[in-house]
Symmetry: C2
Subunit: 586 residues, 2 copies
């Protein structure tokens, strides 16, 4: 080793030891006959001191001319510092340096390698290897490492077997777009990269593996949004001979284990809510429960009082923002403009201030008496000092709009503390959802999800009303993962494909192997997958999963550091028996 | 849960308990009023008993008609067996069954689900999910699981950070062929799947991550051989501020840890050998050290005695097979034919039997006296009863041929015990090797491997003589992994690319990001990668890595179970802006 100790290791009890340290120059302070160098590595920072007299002249000169981010090796004796630094664990000591070797010089970095940097997003992505050198960024990846190890410890202890499923699989047009890989050996044919190991984990259950898990890369060729990546990581699991309750309890234990081990947070009971209630009370299938502000429906109280907007609405629904009655006219106008932005799309916003004196002031005083407004306030559980915010219109649309407003109010009122964690199981999802574009039903979860037994008769009469044995884990308004109890017999699976608009031939070509497997003794089984990048982001208190990925891609799916994707040679194309359907250079 | 216990759990102390078991029907024995069913799951086998009288008539009937591999749920009381089975841990008890539910029927499997099966390779691959149901196959995957968990425990404890590197990267024509992924968003451009995370792990060292590891899928589009797969798994590692000795010691510790934890085998010191010695004494850079049979050169003793074959040979070299003097004429002819097969390609084989009476009998008695042969025997350390086998010809070719013969003799004489493990570090590999096809030097390890400092001057004068800071771990003649101390400065890396025949432009286009990174303070670093599939196979005592992969591909790179690769739709091609350069159906 080019060191005897790391830069985070030396303490008072090491005083007197001859040590060798290696690392990066964080800072150089030159006071004439005295030079201090802060030497940094992954483990910490140790101060080196170069003194005139005790070190030879050349050494002092060499130290004084070290640049930021130079990689050096320093030898010397650990001494006690005269002025200690209690902000760092090594702050009691310094190394009186007698030997200095420059292992590698460094150009001036394109941005400052400190917790606070002057580098913009683009620059930091191009030089991601320098961005990762910043403590705050490295710690995010260390958190991720910790999460991975603790996940595996838990799963292993619960008898889950880690099995690697293939990356080169088969394209199935259902769902999102696949990334495809032309086969050179099987000309004209393609592999696909997995969107999830779904069918393989189900086959492992048919194999009697009983409990499977994997922390696995998955791939989706989607148009990217801020928090999507073309490749992402899942904690993927499957269990045999289970019912929904068993899966919920197992992964509630995993979640609590991770919070306890990684965040030192003891989670309470995980709440549960039906999809229907989540939509009714939060307008959203992933409600943020760090704050209440439940939806309250006001149709019966607010309609038929002469206010056309409400009278013509399918739904009049509001939330109560506690303590917000002192919002100024300007703030209320801003809120109104906010809900009217095209991203939200509301026609307007009705407010009612519950004044401290028991009176009400609303934007619809023309139409409603103080008694009317008192009745609204009572139903909404409002107290003097609260602010009621009410939207109206088509039910589904209005709920979505109010959901956005609720989240904004939660943020504005400081009710969404990144250090508070409110996990929630959302249950009883619909099995199918109607797709306007293709004019057919799609599987809300995926085509392998089982319908609730008692709802199966509805499949023919009212497919949209059939509930699935499906569940999502939501934390702080973010969907962490979802799963379901699967179909495990061929006939139900065939029926499901039929309802999803597959012909028998299509079902057979794409999933014939799975339906055949179901005929050879498939056990009842179910599972779940957690979005690992997102779970890490939640643990780290960040909105962006990109921070928790070592080498993320940008919104165009590019890795700007290595400049990928890139053009390939004609020889490569020819070997793969493909041609570009456009000119290489436009 | 659809069970209270697994099928491997019940013991004498559970007698009297009411239990519910779920699993697969392994066997049904029907003795009229008495039916036994062996119920199997991943954890074991438990005997169910159905008795006339104590169970109702229907139940007995139902049990008698259960088919192999039916999935059932059985309820009943644990009772002590009258005739115990001490071959299985549950053999003291059985379950007196009072309730039976068929969870899923099963067709007769296409092959027998037992340790010994009648299914051929092709059939078992098509129904891999049934093959995996066999205990002997499942245990191989359980071994793999165990190896993964222990690897991670060790690496975590030694401060290695697990970092996931990207799967969608950039094509680099150096090395084996890349699998390519057309980009839909960046039309005409392609991602490549990584052959290894080499450049990313080096960048992580530039980032100061200090110690990185990953158990990671890698991809090579090669023409497949029996023990190659297009996707395979590596234990991939990198360390900063290390010298070769540090890497060797760290991964020697990992190897010992795995043997100790997984195999309960305590490995001794790992031997070390230079590449030059491995070639000289074993004709092979991955010698199997479970047996000795070192090469002995005989030129000075065997030439100029009138035997033209030896006289004209660059090298005369032999091995001593202990105790094989009683090989019959027929056996010796068979050996001669074996080395003359085109796969080996020797012109002939010379043997010398060292008789028990001290005399010698050879195939070249015409040319050599008893004293001549005695001198050979002495040099080769032979004793009465041993057999000398000698080949001659061009030095490199002859060493390769003798290496094959040595391994065959080791196998024939029972010297290659699967339960004996002989690890070896092979060191001091050449940096470059001459490629006859392209008429230029290739990197023997890869272009990022550093030359030994003292050999750098040779780069201009005698490139083939330059040794690398590279090392391979070999166990029982199988290359488990290899690594090197890397180049960490731009100038050396540029020089290396030049010697490999890259123009400056090519080097810049493909690896510019890495060379630029080296300018911002790259620490000295090195690492290693172990072939994880192969390591598992060695631990399991198998020659085939395929057994240790849950869903392997066949020799044409096909997954015959899911039938992949496969044709894709015209829409998919169009979205990716590519066309097939051949007709879809030929």
């Amino acid at each position: 080793m080019l060191r005897t100790h790391t830069c985070g290791e030396l303490r008072l009890e090491d005083v007197g030891k001859e040590v060798t340290l290696s690392g990066w120059v964080q800072r150089v302070r030159n006071k004439g006959g005295l030079v201090w160098v802060d030497l940094r590595d992954r483990y910490g920072v140790t101060q080196l001191i170069f003194e005139e007299g005790s070190s030879d002249k050349d050494l002092l000169e060499k130290a004084a001319h070290l640049g930021r981010e130079f990689v050096i090796q320093a030898k010397g004796e650990v001494i006690e510092r005269t002025s200690k630094n209690n902000k760092i664990p090594t702050g009691d000591v310094e190394v009186k340096t007698t030997g200095l070797e420059i292992l590698n010089a460094a150009k001036v970095p394109p941005f400052v390698i400190e917790d606070e940097t002057d580098g913009g997003e683009d620059l930091r992505m191009k030089y991601r290897y320098l961005d990762l050198r910043r403590r705050v960024v490295r710690e995010k990846l260390q958190l991720r490492h910790h999460m991975m190890q603790e996940t595996r410890k838990f799963m292993d202890a619960e008898d889950f077997m880690e099995v690697e499923t293939p990356v080169l699989i088969k394209s199935t047009p259902e769902g999102a777009r696949d990334f495809l890989v032309p086969s050179r050996v099987n000309k004209g044919e393609f592999y696909a990269l997995p969107q999830s190991p779904q069918t393989f984990k189900q086959l492992l259950m048919v194999s009697g593996f009983d409990r499977y898990f994997q922390i696995v890369k998955c791939f989706r060729d989607e148009d990217l949004r801020a928090d999507r990546q073309p490749e992402f990581t899942q904690i993927d699991c499957e269990m045999s001979f289970v019912e929904q309750e068993d899966v919920l309890q197992t992964f509630e234990r995993l979640t609590k284990h991770l919070f306890s081990k990684v965040k030192k947070v003891e989670l309470g009971e995980v709440e549960r809510m039906s999809f229907t209630d989540a939509m009714k009370y939060y307008g959203n299938d992933k409600p943020d429960l760090r704050f209440d502000m439940k939806f309250v429906e006001l149709n019966d109280l607010a309609q038929n009082k002469g206010f056309n907007v409400f009278d013509n609405a399918e739904l009049v629904v509001g939330i109560c923002a506690q303590g917000a009655a002192e919002y100024t006219r300007k703030q209320l106008d801003a809120l109104t403009n906010w809900v009217k932005r095209p991203q939200i799309g509301a026609m307007g916003l009705v407010y009612v201030k519950c004044n401290e004196d028991g009176s009400f002031k609303s934007s619809v005083d023309k139409f409603y008496s103080q008694e009317d407004l008192a009745a609204w306030a009572e139903r909404m559980g409002a107290h003097p000092g609260d602010l009621l915010l009410i939207l109206s219109g088509d039910a589904n649309t209005t709920r979505k709009q109010l959901s956005e407003l609720r989240l904004k109010m939660g943020s504005d009122l400081g009710l969404r503390d990144k250090n508070v964690f409110k996990p929630l199981w959302v249950l009883d999802f619909p099995l199918l959802e109607w797709d306007e574009d293709t004019e057919r039903y799609h599987a809300m979860h995926h085509p392998f999800t089982s319908p609730k037994k008692e709802d199966i008769p509805l499949l023919e009469s009212d497919p949209g009303a059939v509930r699935a044995n499906a569940y999502d884990l939501v934390i702080n308004g973010v969907e962490i993962g979802g799963g379901s109890i699967r179909i495990h017999d061929k006939n139900t699976q065939k029926m499901m494909f039929k309802h999803l608009g597959f012909t028998d031939e299509e079902a057979q070509e794409q999933f014939g192997f799975l339906m055949e497997a179901f005929e050879y003794g498939a056990p009842p089984h179910g599972g779940i997958a957690f979005g690992f990048d997102r779970l890490c982001a939640i643990f780290g208190g960040s909105d962006s999963i990109r921070d928790y990925i070592a080498f993320p891609k940008n919104n165009s799916g590019r890795d700007v550091m290595i400049d990928s994707p890139s053009h390939i040679s004609e020889d490569q194309l020819e070997e793969l028996s493909i041609r570009l359907a456009m000119k290489k250079e436009v």
